[in-house]
């Protein structure tokens, strides 16, 4: 029940910052989603760093799906691929419902490049990782900071500016779209 409330709140707040959110029941759906939006937008490369460490089986599955669909999947040395990356694909570590914020450990340079220099960012968010507010994540954040070096990113929506006549414009330096796929494995 509480988890559900957090999801609802996250979705509501995400809307306010132009983040698209859908709920999925298994990781496979996220792969298909990423492939589909990449192709639809005319992209051909997905960067999914960090997935290997998290789940190597999943990575193999993703790779197979990408091959099937004619999409290139890259996972490392991303610096040499800047300019070619269409979709950055990550699994978020935590999230804050109150502000629709993803918390992404970005200590690896590849994760940073995938989430900053791709045209769009697709992030899987395990439903159990959503907390009400940032204060509730204090311990988890501190842990990361106490095991340096570390680079922890809060991401709430797509890159934006209002620097020209205060007109809100999305996509100035970072990704132009943020897609969050809430993964709730107990739901069918």
């Amino acid at each position: 029940m509480e988890k559900h409330e957090q999801i609802t709140l996250f979705k509501e707040k995400a809307e306010a910052v132009q983040t698209s959110v859908i709920e999925i029941g298994e990781l496979q759906q996220a792969f298909l989603y990423a492939i589909e939006v990449t192709k639809k937008q005319g992209g051909s490369t997905i960067a999914a760093p960090g997935l290997a460490q998290k789940d190597s089986d999943a990575l193999s599955a993703f790779r197979a799906l990408c091959e099937e669909n004619g999409v290139t999947l890259v996972t490392e040395n991303l610096r040499s691929q800047i300019g070619k990356l269409h979709t950055g694909f990550t699994v978020a570590d935590h999230a804050v419902a109150e502000t629709a914020t993803l918390v992404q450990d970005s200590s690896s340079e590849d994760v940073r490049i995938a989430t900053m220099l791709s045209e769009i960012h697709v992030a899987v968010l395990p439903a159990s990782r959503i907390k009400a507010d940032a204060m509730s994540l204090e311990n988890e954040l501190k842990e990361a900071m106490k095991a340096p070096p570390s680079y922890v990113a809060f991401i709430s929506g797509a890159s934006r500016t209002a620097d020209i006549e205060r007109v809100l414009t999305i996509g100035v330096h970072g990704p132009q779209e943020l897609h969050v796929l809430i993964l709730d494995e107990n739901v069918d």
Binding site: K142, S150, D163, H173, G174
Partner: protein
């Protein structure tokens, strides 16, 4: 390059020019309006006051220990592979950063937005040393290309129109840009700056937080340029003021809760980045980032030890104090600060950029309290502005003649009141028998002609008091009236209205004759010693224990008595108790009617029809009274028509309107325009100073004139016969 006038005369020239810039005036006005709404929405359902208190207390607790926090930070950050430097001055900071660049064979540099780097004029220094520096925040990039400084701490290019940006980008790209295609222009920046990111060897950022317990820096941005600046180049330098040191993550998260909401009305900025140590970076030595953090003192550590000014270090650079400032709204940031802008800019300029740059701008404050009421860190900005003004006067040792005269007059009540009585005779030929002076006396120049001036009353209130104030046999309350100079000598009729109501509701009024000016004008002119002396005189004249309440018709006197007396007389054991008692008993007219007398609407029949209301700064923010006057209007059977910006200053500000007549006139014009737009027949307010300004301005308007009255007058007139 930024240049700020060093004297008021030159400064007024700049202000006049800014007032003619209609784009600026409209943009900032729209911004102020939408900011209010989005801020309110962002904090909806939160205990905002409590949060501000917590932030202020947290900051106050760490300010005395900045050096200890630094030691801890240094140990942690060094253990994580960062190199820590301390710069005592701005020049030292620039030199340290230039030498880091040199040691690392850097040629090209990208920068994230940093007010601290603006403070040290880092770009100028690095460019002189031969480095190519590119600002990557869109607004900063635009002003860098134009060779300007920021005009707002959060939105540096807010003073520019889309046409100006299009023109600039046309020049940069060589291809014509459509000013209405803002998205297209943003994409130009995306393209151009992407190249700069890829080519840079070094990235420079500021930091919003330096967390001591972990040696972490926190960066808050929307565009994401800060992330690229800290990721792509092999060297990262963060330039951080000592004031950004904070003990732990919890304190940082607390500030983060308020910062974006207060800055732009966003629940959170798009990217918040926490960096601890030298991270993974392919082109860096051994695959690690070359990470440097330069802590800037530049007067901060001395400021931290100052009993009055240390609270300026609480500032979290949200920019809100500019957003709501009525003067900022008229003239923009280039005319309202030096590098730092808005209320906090008037203060910090003195400490970081010197007296010359602070001298003129620090006078340009109405004391309207709008900034204070939104400050994320609860800084008493108007008070500190006056304290800076006072310090500048003291340090320069050259008091303006008007200060010397004011001091002499105020310290001697008899002399002061004698002078006021004499004024009646002096002005007679100018007034031509009316109650307003339409043509100015010779010593005021034409700029002051935007309002008629009131004539001093023939018989001041104090001379009529015994005659007009009846003795009641069994009064409900015994109440002292603190008149204030304007009611006493200019508008005694406002007190007469009060007397009428007091009789009706069985309240015995008293007018302690030894009372004098509350002393606010002295404080406004930086004369705290005089302010202190008159405070003591008034405390001797009005002993709070003798009365149930102490009533004032003047919001400015009321808030000065309540808020500044304790400050002026702090540490004076004999007076402290009396000050506290006074504080407990001071009340404004509307609160007294509504909350104490609880007057019933049956007594009134609403003598006037359509009423507009102006909410005086010192009532709504000084005394926190907002509901009572509006409710009282309803109680009195009056038809209240809300106007736009009711609680924005009318531009009076006491001596302010004499020092900066153009600003005062423009604020007055906007106020009266808003009032006229309601279709009201009478404009009501509860401060005689505002009445003076509003009535004088209304008199000068050609069209159908709206009457201006004190709320006590319309309520007394509405009593059933």
């Amino acid at each position: 390059m930024i240049s700020t006038p060093h004297d008021v005369k030159e400064y007024r020239g700049h202000l006049k020019k800014a007032l003619k810039n209609t784009f600026l005036g409209t943009t900032l006005d729209n911004f102020a309006t939408s900011y209010r709404a989005s801020r309110a929405k962002a904090f909806e359902g939160m205990d905002l006051e409590g949060l501000i208190q917590e932030i202020a207390q947290g900051k106050d607790a760490s300010i005395p220990y900045l050096e200890e926090l630094f030691t801890l930070f240094k140990a942690r950050a060094e253990a994580a592979g960062a190199k820590i430097h301390v710069a005592r001055t701005a020049t030292e900071a620039n030199e340290i950063i230039a030498s880091i660049a040199k040691d690392n064979g850097v040629r090209k540099i990208v920068k994230g937005k940093s007010m601290t780097a603006e403070e040290t004029f880092l770009n100028t220094h690095l460019e002189k040393e031969g480095y190519q520096v590119t600002e990557t925040d869109l607004g900063e990039w635009i002003i860098q290309l134009r060779g300007e400084g920021p005009s707002h701490m959060v939105m540096p290019a807010i003073h520019l129109s889309r046409q100006q940006v299009a023109e600039l980008f046309t020049k940069i790209t060589g291809a014509p840009q459509d000013p209405d295609d803002i998205n297209g222009m943003v994409k130009v920046a995306r393209r151009e700056l992407r190249q700069a990111f890829l080519e840079a060897d070094m990235g420079i950022t500021g930091a919003n937080f330096a967390i001591a317990e972990t040696g972490t820096i926190g960066l808050v941005t929307n565009e994401g340029n800060g992330r690229l600046v800290t990721t792509l180049p092999r060297v990262h330098v963060a330039l951080v003021g000592f004031d950004k040191l904070i003990p732990d993550l919890q304190s940082a998260l607390r500030v983060l809760k308020a910062l974006p909401r207060n800055a732009t009305g966003q629940a959170i900025s798009t990217y918040v980045t926490w960096i601890t140590g030298a991270n993974d970076c392919a082109p860096g030595p051994d695959g690690r980032k070359e990470m440097h953090i330069v802590f800037l003192d530049n007067g901060r550590l001395a400021l931290a030890r100052d009993p009055v000014f240390s609270q300026a270090l609480r500032c979290v650079r949200c920019g809100a104090c500019a957003n709501v400032c009525p003067i900022y709204k008229l003239v923009g940031g280039h005319n309202y600060g030096h590098v730092y802008i808005g209320a906090i800019g008037l203060i910090l300029t003195y400490f970081y950029h010197g007296r010359e740059n602070a001298r003129a701008i620090v006078k340009n404050c109405l004391n309207c309290q709008a900034c204070k009421s939104v400050c994320a860190a609860g800084i008493d900005l108007p008070h500190l502005i006056k304290e800076v003004y006072r310090t500048v006067l003291e340090v320069e040792g050259k008091k303006p003649v008007k200060n010397i005269l004011l001091n002499r007059a105020l310290k001697d009540r008899r002399l002061f009141h004698f002078l006021l009585r004499r004024a009646y005779l002096a002005q007679k030929p100018l007034a031509g028998g009316g109650d307003l002076i339409r043509h100015l006396p010779f010593f005021l120049s034409r700029e002051h002609g935007f309002r008629s001036l009131p004539v001093v009353a023939k018989t001041p209130l104090r001379d009529q008091w015994e005659r007009i104030n009846p003795r009641l046999p069994n009064p409900r309350y015994r109440v002292a009236l603190f008149g204030g100079c304007v009611v006493d000598f200019v508008y005694p009729e406002q007190a007469l209205a009060l007397v009428k109501l007091a009789r009706e509701f069985n309240v015995q009024l008293e007018y302690p004759m030894e009372q004098t000016c509350c002393g606010l004008p002295a404080k406004m002119m930086g004369e705290s010693e005089t302010a202190r002396e008159v405070a003591i005189q008034n405390l001797k004249a009005v002993d709070p224990t003798e009365y149930d309440y102490i009533l004032t018709l003047c919001a400015s006197c009321g808030s000065h008595l309540k808020e500044n007396y304790p400050r002026l007389l702090a540490g004076d054991p004999g007076l402290q108790v009396k000050v506290d008692q006074l504080r407990d008993k001071i009340m404004d007219f509307s609160s007294f009617m509504q909350n104490v007398l609880k007057v019933s609407s049956e007594k009134f029949d609403g003598h006037y029809r359509k009423i507009a209301y102006h909410s005086p700064c010192h009532l709504c923010r000084g005394l926190n009274v907002t509901q009572e006057p509006r409710e009282l209007l309803k109680t009195a059977g009056l038809d209240y028509l809300p106007a736009k910006d009711e609680d924005v200053c009318c531009g009076f500000g006491g001596s302010f309107s004499v020092e900066f007549p153009e600003i005062s006139a423009e604020l007055l014009k906007r106020k009266l325009d808003n009032v006229e737009a309601t279709g009201a027949e009478v404009l009501v307010t509860d401060c005689p100073g505002c009445v003076l300004q509003l009535r004088g301005g209304m008199d000068k308007r050609g069209a159908k004139k709206i009457q201006v009255k004190h709320i006590a007058e319309v309520v007394a007139d509405s009593l059933k016969k």
